[in-house]
């Protein structure tokens, strides 16, 4: 196994009672006080997550925007400070990663990518960049990132970074804090309002300590997974992978076929025309139980799909997303096999949790 990587907040997380686990090679807290308490903090007040394992890739040059338009299936916004959620696709139109781009200037963009995909995405982008004469830099090891999420999150951060409350959703702003330059974005992975703050590694603990004093609850990967699943966000590697197109992954809205040219476009046009045998849907268990990744889904006695993410939601009890035969409609009654028993579950369209964002 590769060497265990630690974020700049690792010691601080341990000190705050974090139960540390391996996540794609990173040592990260799965929980502090408890997943249920942390979930509640984010839904009702404010919680913070060390997301320093995520990657920061900068794209610079005159052709930075055309380049991103080419590697993304979505239309990349290029207005000042604008962010765009997009997928990087293979030539076959399948998902390499989901990411967010931010326009720092007409010739400079920041892309935030998933931890497990940093090396792969960077290599892929470098390969595509040759024809565009843009510079692609992987600065993931230099930056730390803290997500502060919840209905009170922006109010708290506004005390440290006045003006954040006026930053629109999916926008970025540079700032100076503790004598260092960083970035703040009005984004998150929880379904609540909030921000994600990027600072150089050496300064992130100062921010963590200040936020602890301001009673922001430290939260781990466990709560993060419940929150994102409730909010219907994909977990790349589980709910999306290079065998699935965005259409199948309930992300058809991310694909803009009207765009002139982008990697995967031709394949997607053909595949969309042919239709897809299965697609990602949500499930709500009608009885107590907890569906998990890998559980089989049955419809009218026949195996019809598989769960890719499942959990216990304090708001909705047993919930899951998974790939189900496309012929089976929303609101159909299915059964999920859990510990050898078939439990009834209703098909729903994610998200489970719809809120202010």
């Amino acid at each position: 196994m590769a060497e265990q990587k630690k974020t700049a907040l690792c010691t601080a997380c341990e000190k705050a009672g974090g139960r540390m686990v391996d996540f794609h090679g990173w040592l990260l807290p799965v929980q502090f006080e408890g997943i249920l308490a942390e979930h509640k903090a984010v839904r009702e007040t404010a919680g913070m997550f060390d997301v320093s394992h995520m990657g920061q890739i900068f794209v610079e040059g005159m052709n930075a925007w055309p380049f991103l338009q080419y590697v993304s299936c979505n239309n990349i916004k290029n207005g000042p400070a604008e962010g765009t959620y997009f997928h990087l696709l293979t030539e076959q139109g399948t998902i390499i990663d989901d990411a967010i781009s931010f326009c720092l200037s007409p010739e400079k963009f920041l892309i935030v990518v998933n931890a497990a995909c940093v090396e792969g995405d960077f290599a892929w982008l470098c390969k595509q960049a040759e024809a565009f004469h843009v510079k692609v830099r992987n600065e993931s090891n230099a930056w730390s990132m803290l997500a502060v999420q919840g209905p009170k999150a922006v109010e708290v951060i506004n005390q440290l970074l006045p003006g954040v409350k006026d930053l629109p959703r999916f926008h970025i702003s540079p700032f100076t804090m503790f004598g260092t330059d960083g970035y703040v974005t009005r984004t998150g992975y929880t379904g609540e309002d909030g921000v994600e703050i990027m600072l150089p590694n050496a300064k992130i603990q100062e921010l963590w300590d200040v936020l602890l004093q301001l009673k922001v609850t430290p939260c781990g990967l466990g709560a993060r997974d419940v929150l994102r699943l409730e909010a219907g966000y994909l977990l790349n590697g589980e709910d999306a992978n290079p065998t699935k197109t965005p259409y199948e992954a309930n992300c058809g809205w991310v694909v803009k076929l009207a765009k002139n040219k982008f990697i995967g476009k031709t394949a997607l046009e053909t595949k969309k025309e042919a239709g897809f045998p299965s697609r990602l849907v949500g499930f709500r268990l009608k009885v107590p139980g907890v569906p998990r990744a890998g559980c089989k889904i049955f419809y009218k006695g026949k195996e019809a799909g598989i769960v890719t993410s499942g959990t216990f939601s304090p708001l909705f009890k047993g919930i899951a997303v998974g790939y189900l035969d496309s012929k089976i409609p929303v609101e159909a009654e299915t059964e999920i096999e859990i510990h050898g028993r078939l439990l009834p579950a209703i098909v729903v369209k994610p998200p489970f949790y719809k809120n202010r964002v």
């Binding site: 929980q31 408890g34 997943i35 249920l36 107590p288 907890v290 998990r292 216990f312």
Partner: protein, 126 residues
């Protein structure tokens, strides 16, 4: 109360409390701390006959599922229905209101061979 001192334990973190020909079964305080935030207990059906070491119950936390093994052989004669409404009882009172099920023992010698508290604690300190 199924006092810790009077219970016998398995290496898989179940406790058993002898009550005549019956054994009440639960999980140790250490186990509930490790599992944390218990959200569902899939109890066995009363009347089921189990062998010692047989997987007969599942405890679900938010994050994971843990299998529970019968410490002794016998028939399951009662289960803790209160856990259906309040599974977190296992976290709050692992040796009282958080008991799981009751077995009518067919081989009481199995009970005598379980670990006492000191021996159990030694296994978790390794």
């Amino acid at each position: 109360m199924y006092n810790e001192e009077k219970c016998r334990f398995t290496k898989t973190h179940e406790w058993a409390y002898k009550d005549g020909e019956f054994a009440v079964v639960g999980i140790s305080n250490h186990a509930q701390e490790e599992i944390s935030d218990i959200v569902f207990v899939d109890l066995p059906k009363p009347g089921r006959v189990v062998n010692a070491g047989e997987n007969c119950c599942v405890i679900e936390s938010v994050k994971s599922a843990s299998e529970i093994y019968a410490p002794v052989s016998g028939e399951i004669v009662a289960v803790n229905e209160a856990l259906n409404a309040d599974p977190a009882l296992v976290n709050r009172e692992p040796h009282a209101g958080g008991w799981l099920f009751k077995i009518k023992m067919t081989n009481p010698a199995e009970y005598d061979n379980l670990l006492d508290l000191a021996a159990y604690k030694a296994t978790i300190q390794k």
